[in-house]
Amino acid sequence: MNPLDRRSFLNKLTVGAAAAASGSAAYFAGPRPIQAAYKPKGNIPDKPFKTGHITFLTGPANLLGEPGRKGHLMAAEEINAEGGLLGRRKIETILADEAAGTDANVKELRRMKLSENIDLFTGIVSSGNTPALGPVAEELGVLTLFNDGCTDFLFDKAVPKPKYVFRVTNIQSADGITSAVGAAKAWPHAKRVASLQPDYSYGRNVHEHFMLAYQKLVPGATSVSEAWPKLGTTDFTPHITKLISDKPDILICGVWGGDYVAFYKQALRYGLFDKMKVATTLAFGGQPHAIGKDHPEGVLAGAHANYFFTFPGKGRWPINDSFVERYYKRWNEYPSFEADGAYTSLYLLKAAVEKANALVGGWPDDDAIITMLEGMGIDAPSGYTYIRPDNHQGYKDAVIGMTKNDPKYEFPIWDPESIITIPIRDITAPPNWPKPGQGHNESTAAANWLKTTWLT
């Protein structure tokens, strides 16, 4: 890892659509062809391949859960149209509602494995749930590709040595840091920071990692106001008034899903956006059309450091072009990062199964699939996604942009001129960085890495 200092780090970051293409030349050197059909080796059973998918089917978090479900189903339909995995095993999906609560999700995962005998578990939006479900998946020995539920706690604390559990979308610390970098780049003099976070692990993580990174990027930045509404809050007005009264320069907001929609609409009527800059981690995390045209422009709109469907722009990354097109055709809406995550998860599995089959023939056992998944890279709609072998976490270059209205769409999109791509290696703890309890007591490995080495 090459040591960075603050100034050169911020300067070398590429901004804008054109810059993005050249800056990420390593990944986008040329459009890669979609994989040619694979010819399986050996005898493949035609038993259906059962997947369990738990995501938010109801409630405010449904804005994230719904695209995940659709991405998953679309990938399954596509794969099944070619005969299934290895041309023989059709993917079947059992759905359950994440809104039933953590305990119910734990029970349901057990039932899916022990009673329904699923081959793969996927889904999960909430950061509160992956640390609960990860250990259960490990003890059940069920191959698991979490789409999201991005908290660092999963692989830092809950499952420090994963075998069966993988996670595809970016890790939370990268998410918080990405917003910090985006904010520092856009508003280098915003020193008084307010924070509005959902009161659970995601919000706590966002607050901590954002502040750690932001204080390094904007010397003298301090936290002047904190508000911790409960997840599922509908009335943000006292929080909004409090935030305004503390006169911050910038607000970092980790509120997401339906909660974010409620928040921004109420904030608008209280004039919050006129009083401070606003950086978010997940404003663009849900279904794109859930955000109305009334959303202010110039807000830093996070997409979990992952993906927004207008980037990479048309013609720059054919995989995305065709994904957006097919998704729109299938569901009559545009995909979100959850759609990309869930979709990519199944294609990751497909790639791993095929690679393992090429080596050993027949239907590969879980161990073989896991070996292939570790260290695997895939060209996803969102770009190149890499599964790091040491912690089974998916990594990809982080992206974020500013909101802007575009007459072509019924909702705001990222201003192409504002999009920042941050090489993931610059904002995440390197492999085998000590986890909490291994010589430090920070809440996450990333927090320790940020404090000790980042931009020093």
Binding site: F56, T58, W228, T234, D235, I244, G258, K265, Y270
Partner: protein
């Protein structure tokens, strides 16, 4: 100073909504000695019905003064719908249980809570519904250097009108006299020729109407989401425990206490904002078991 005014308005807004819910709960308890665990769900249902009705009639994006007035007029449909639901539920599900220990009614309303939660999911889908166009249509007013949504003032007004109206209704109208007589002694009222069955169904429907009205007025400002009922019920409980079961004044004072404490909590001590509310309720019950305004 501006902040103080806005936070005070926020609190009164919240108190107005809480009052509508709690007053309905308290009224039903006062007349029928029923604690309705589904009451919060009625509030949520009112919100969904109103949001749906506004959306269905005007579409998502209609603007203009006439549309705004139309939307405002449609809004109370949620309240009426819930009153109708209440008028059906009381005679069918609750009346058969009046002779039995009160646990049974509590349980039936708990079952009702679960059923209605899923009925909402089934009918309105899992995603939040909003009638935000009303809110947007009315804009914000300026208070000092700050903005405050004009619609919220309407909600505050509705809260005040409801409180006064309900008070006049119960203490000044003939029906109110009958209602109070029935609540004090059911058998005596019956002996005096009052049709207790009809009084009960009316009282229950009025209580439900209040809950539905709470949901209807809140939906332009916030949104109708699943699960809002359970949270609302527990806060309404806190309100009537503080104010006194069955007391209208109690519901009003309780709602104000709860919402001001909540706002203060968010502003000054966010960590224990929730616990403080329940502790206040517990302390009030310890010192004045029947609440601030309750009678034994």
């Amino acid at each position: 100073m501006d902040t103080l005014i806005i936070q005070t308005l926020n609190s009164i807004f919240y108190a107005a909504v809480l009052f509508l819910i709690a007053a309905g709960l308290s009224l039903i308890y006062g007349v029928m000695r029923i604690v309705n665990l589904a009451h919060g769900t009625f509030y949520a249902l009112g919100a969904f019905v109103s949001a749906w009705a506004v959306g269905a009639v005007f579409g998502a994006s209609s603007t203009g003064g006439l549309a705004l007035i139309g939307q405002l007029l449609i809004l109370p449909i949620g309240a009426l719908a819930i009153a109708a639901v209440g008028a059906v539920i009381e005679p069918t599900l609750l009346r058969p249980l009046y002779g039995r220990p009160e646990e049974y009614i509590l349980l039936v309303t708990f079952g009702l809570l679960m059923i209605l939660d899923d009925v909402m999911k089934l009918v309105f889908g899992g995603t939040p519904l909003s009638a935000g166009s009303i809110m947007d249509g009315m804009g914000s007013i300026r208070i000092g250097g700050l903005l405050y949504p004009a619609y919220n003032l309407i909600v505050i007004a509705i809260g005040i009108i409801s409180a006064v109206g309900l008070w006049a209704f119960i203490y000044r109208s003939r029906f109110g006299v009958i209602l109070r007589a029935t609540s004090q002694d059911r058998r005596m009222a019956s002996a005096l020729g009052i049709n207790v069955g009809r009084i009960y169904v009316q009282a229950f429907a009025i209580g439900c109407f209040m809950a539905g009205l709470g949901g209807a007025v809140v939906v332009p400002a916030q949104a109708a989401v699943l699960g809002m009922g359970v949270d609302a019920l527990i806060l309404a409980f806190v309100v009537i425990v503080i104010g006194g079961l069955g007391s209208l004044e109690g519901a009003l004072v309780g709602a104000l206490i709860v919402s001001f404490v909540r706002t203060a909590g968010i502003q000054f001590f966010p960590e224990i904002e929730l616990a403080v509310l329940y502790l206040i309720a517990a302390v009030v019950l310890l010192i004045r078991p029947t609440g601030l305004f309750g009678r034994a």
